[in-house]
């Protein structure tokens, strides 16, 4: 009642409009902060050899892990060794005269690795483990490999050189890990901030205690 009259008196001077503008401004800023995580814009990267994923993964339907052989064995996916490429292309006469293959052979003659540019880069304080994810989704849950890799890398089968299509921001990671999809083990759900003390088993199922990004150190180093 009281405050109402005050507003009333001020209203004559149109201050309410100002106040409203203020409010909108603040909300807008918050909204921006919220969304900024999704401003990824993975621009196309110039590579020494424009590797056609669309042909290999798309047309040929080669299993991603045939070339990216390290992904299931190491936290680092790495780049396929040159020998891998040669293994096939030495015997594929049909394309030997293609410029990209020529380049490939040049590198091979020089016994020199191809300096590919990193497309999906994470900050150095982040510890992302390819092996973990592939082991779970591909080997344990038997999902199609392109879908599994696609969770983070998008539909590579549709690109020539890989492009970054997901934000790979912390919130984006959590957006999966927090989801309650049926096959997510309890432990891979995230709560922030973490409690100062370990949770009692009553509150969190046993599965949770030994693993899962429930502790910051799982992803931060």
């Amino acid at each position: 009642m009281m405050s109402h009259t005050i507003l009333g008196s001020l209203a004559r001077r149109g201050t309410v409009r100002a106040a409203r503008a203020w409010l909108l401004g603040v909300l807008g800023a918050l909204g921006l902060a919220l969304v900024s995580g999704w401003a990824w814009a993975g621009d196309k990267v110039e590579q020494p050899i424009e590797f056609p994923h669309d042909i290999h993964a798309g047309k040929m339907g080669i299993n991603c892990m045939y070339c990216h052989t390290y992904a299931r064995r190491s936290k680092v996916a790495g780049i396929p060794p040159l020998r891998k490429c040669m293994g096939c292309h030495e015997n594929i006469e049909s394309v030997k005269d293609k410029p990209r293959i020529k380049k490939l052979f040049e590198y091979w003659e020089k016994k020199e690795a191809i300096p590919f540019k990193k497309v999906h880069d994470l900050p150095d304080f982040v510890r992302f483990n390819h092996e973990r994810h592939i082991q779970r989704f591909y080997f344990q849950l038997g999902r199609p490999v392109q879908e599994v890799c696609g969770y983070c890398h998008g539909n590579v089968a549709g690109m020539t050189v890989a492009e970054k299509v997901e934000p790979l921001s912390m919130g984006w990671c959590i957006s999966c890990h927090q989801k309650d999809h049926p096959d997510a083990p309890a432990g891979t759900r995230v709560n922030f901030p973490r409690m100062s003390l370990a949770d009692s088993p009553a509150q969190e199922p046993k599965a949770e205690t030994s693993h899962g990004p429930n502790d910051c150190w799982q992803c931060h180093k």
């Binding site: 064995r73 060794p81 690795a113």
Partner: protein
Amino acid sequence: MKNLQRRDFLRVLGWGGASASVAACGFTSVDSGVETVKSYVEPEDFNVPGVGIYYASTCTQCEGLCGVVGRVRDGRILKLEGNVASTINNGKLCGLGQASVQHHYNPDRLRAPLLRKDGELKPITWAEAMPILLDRTAATRDGRFAFLTGPVSGHFKVLAGNTTEALGSRQHLVYDPLSTRINRVAAEQVLGSGAPRLLLEQAQVIVSFGADFLDTWVSPVHFAGQYARFRRATEDKPRGTLVQIEPRMTLTGANADRWIAIRPGTEGVLALGIAHALLAARPSAAGAVPPALVTAATAFDRSRVLTDTGVSAEAFDRLVKLLQDRSPAVVLSGPSAEGHVHGYSNAQAILALNWVLGSVGKTVVAPVKSPFPQIAAESGDTAALRQFADGLAAGRFDTVFIHDVNPVYSAPAFLKIPELLPKAGFKVVFAQYRDETANLADLVLPVDSSLEDWGTHVAPYQGENLELTLQQPLMERLYPDGTRSVGDVLLEVLKRQRPQEYKGFADYYAYLRAALVANRAAFAPIDGDDEYFWTEALSRGVLHVKAGAEAHGAEHAPARLPALELDFAGATTPAGDPYPFTLAPAVRALRDGRHANLPWLQETPDSLTTIVWDSWAEVHPATAKRLGIVDGDILEIASASGSLKVQAYVFPGLHPDVIGLPLGQGHESMGRYANGIGVNPFRILDPVFDRRTGELAMYATRVRVSKTGTRTNIVSDEGWKSGNLKTQAGRKLVAVLPADKAKLSEEV
């Protein structure tokens, strides 16, 4: 060839990983296309990016020669761990060993050979350097050559020896500033072996006269492991008790149940006193002891010993009682007992106690004899340096090679090495850094770090079985055109001198491989062809040498104690000495100064004083009180041969007549981490030598102490800047339990 692939694996990847991680955790770019990722062209399938693989090698930081495994990731050696296959260190590794990666990655390493042109050392390429080296050595007139190295073993020893021979000289001089030769000779004489095996873990009592076996003596990591078992109690064996007797507390002394400060040089007297007391109480023991010793001992009755040694009656009686009650025991003789004009007598008297206590054959047994004397370890001595100096003085050398030692730094001033060295015609120094000696060379050849080089080693002190440890590159050369393996260079020299014998070997690696494969029968069997044998040997890092049947067991110890030559003249110092204190040089992780440029070691607080990045003079509280010295006072420590200025640290672990001074600091040219830090006690050592062996008596230098009036803040970790806190201030941080209360045998 396998080897090449290995080296391919050891090639450094475009190491985005670490270079990025340097900038990490602030803002880091996550934009696409900034960093590059590479992979090997033809990797082994065990070679997975982001996964560390362990390769076995040998730690050459000290004479312990522990086996190590290095963690290699993306072609970079990251860290060293102990090699569990080695019975010397059983998978453990000391701080010094850990730090050897910093020798490898050291920013001050030489990256090109240096040649002296018109008085200046100028960088040249190896292509230029090698011909010069070969021609000059070839030009050496017969026999006018000397090769000064540090302690050597394995096939490098052979190569070095052959090189010297090939130049018609016998002067392969093995120099060790911290030599334990007196001990070896005495042990040879008294116990029948220069390096007897010490079964510390089986002993109930260890009495150590200044042998710092936990930190710096002979094979520290090995003994530390034994010490742990010695301290543990089992049903049949109680917890062992350690008594340390020395003028200045070593780390071992700091861990003793009883630490006894003794007047320097009188250790032998105390030993005989103990022998006397024991024999008096148990004449039966005299059976094993020659009448010579018995009679010698009789002269040293309790009262005389107490007055001579300054040991309290209570301490003496406790010790005697302890030795009577508990058995078996081990008695060790260390540098502080041996570094005197009568050091040899001291060592003999001390080691002889093992006979009186009946330890010989129980806790002191003969080592496994090596079937290959030619590759057996050759521990150096200081006599070698004197020989070298004499040779220089007499102008007897056209050419000298110096490798793995830094005499210009570590030689006592009175030897005048810096002045004499120029007398040699052509001075070649193999060095990793441009150190004091390299500065005086005509040709400086930068050598590989121990993590880049090949090699074989046989440790002077062996565990339960005789081991030959292999050293292999854990990483490609940091400076492929900059450094080379000494082995390769010597091989070149030999090829020039004796083409016939050596033309077969492409390089040092090929030489080693051939040598081992040829002798594979001598090692514990590995089936498979030579290729397999070699790879297997490399992956293990350790080869067990089959000992000849004749070589085993205790029967090699002499049946009874041979006669001793005891001569304690000069054991006690004359009154009214202008130099009232005895200087006790303290050996630390920096050893003879060769490790002074390792930042980790400089930054690691000294175990006892917790001082970092500096030298200091330890002064006993009573002495300090008398002279009005407080922490941080700059003192002048003067001996007859020189003086130096250093900060004082009031330290209780001393005999009041002793001034402690750590070795290893005071470099003028050893790189950014060592230069201008602290002082170099080697400089002020007196020309005192052991009567029998002619070794430099390290602990016989007499000094006088005076305040310069200036003062500095001691930089230490110890309750830093809190009025120099020395105790726990009533908190329960380290609790101590009397041994009789503890139930160690019930623990796991």
